[in-house]
Symmetry: C2
Subunit: 280 residues, 2 copies
Amino acid sequence: MEVITKINEMQTRVLSVRDRKKSIGFVPTMGALHDGHISLIRSAREENDELVVSIYLNPTQFDNSDDFDKYPRQLNKDIEIIRKENADVIFTPCTEEMYPDGFCTHVTQDKLTDALCGGVRPGHFNGVTTIVTKLFNIIDPDRAYFGQKDYQQSAIIKRLVADMNMDVDIRVCPTVREEDGLALSSRNKRLSLEDRKDALCIHGSLQKAGAMFASNVRDAKDIVEEMTSVIKKTKQARIDYISIVNADTLEDLSFINGRALAAVAVWIGNTRLIDNTILE
Amino acid sequence: MEVITKINEMQTRVLSVRDRKKSIGFVPTMGALHDGHISLIRSAREENDELVVSIYLNPTQFDNSDDFDKYPRQLNKDIEIIRKENADVIFTPCTEEMYPDGFCTHVTQDKLTDALCGGVRPGHFNGVTTIVTKLFNIIDPDRAYFGQKDYQQSAIIKRLVADMNMDVDIRVCPTVREEDGLALSSRNKRLSLEDRKDALCIHGSLQKAGAMFASNVRDAKDIVEEMTSVIKKTKQARIDYISIVNADTLEDLSFINGRALAAVAVWIGNTRLIDNTILE
């Protein structure tokens, strides 16, 4: 396995893979890997000849410098995890390499980026669309892998690829959870033991939504109210948003009559966690 | 020569060219071809195995709907011109193909886009960077060709390609002029006989700038003043801007101490024309 930090070295490697007519699978990460990432890496390993995993903590997608500062970092541990999964390349550039002096181009999106996390994290998704465009151009993958926990991110990236006519297949893999239901997230490493218990209310609220939908409740307001009351039972949890949206357009729904998404963002102490479930 | 209107057909053709390890040269145009375009097409023909010319009048780069409505259109004539130059493909998609329902991604730039035409044509260059990104992704060229008359456009596209890590070589070809010095432009077709004479003041002002620079004038304000007085002798000409800028950053200069650009935009009747010259 090769660890590459320079863009031109990565591009040279990609050209040689292309020359040999091999397919490229790509898993972009910000490091602090957990079993959710590993499930993406395993899917990518299975479906492609060459597997590239990137580790890059992209500053431009953090709307909050405190969140960036506190984001867990464990490069050497991550490299060992990826090595065990038989990746071919880890691409881990520095910020001077990705955003050199004079950098001034941005990829932005409207509509999908206004909903859910976009409403409460200004600029976040423009940071995502810009860095993903760069990484896709450098790595030229056939397939790129994202987790369903970041549902809005994958919807935005699917739109990006369609709008910009990029030839990349976006694969969205199921959310990996702890046994008690908590969605895996790099930010979970920040939770205290107490926080860890409190965080369960998130999954609890989504289970509630799923159960109501299964018993034919279709009024979004009723479901959101019940989800809210589940979370409010945990006194340390502060709701950022609870939304029921159209699963394609991410537009708020008052009545569910197609594929919908129940999505939640909650602060547990100083850590903001998100999760979602499809209602269909 | 093949005329392709569908993105997926264009992509299929590109994949087959790539499979044969042939190089692709690309000349993007908005049609209404003149000898300036032909010089780009000939350079591209010479330097590449496969030559793709696009004809697409991109609505999102017009800041003024009247300018868009009045822009000359002559598709059949353009196809014949390109055929004579031995292009392999004309790519001429419709707007529903380029901007389908739900389209919401934009490529934007700051810094370079604020200067010169960017200051007086809001949104223009964001339309350019977005459509060029799409065309580059569809056609995957080794080299793309632009004219020096649109100097700011080529500076912005060079920056776009560098910032987004696109693997395209941007070639900028010299401005082609009429015998009397008027830079060729599709918009020249709109000039009346009277306008055509008036338009000569533009080249006159640039010649003045060149002569002053040659006789060691380095104060930008002095040069701009003289250029202004050249243009003001033509009563029907209305100055949009006259600027002396750093040729790389496009930042306004008060004193010329490196490679500089003298750039002019002037309304002749209802037609806005631009031109420039390098001072070095």
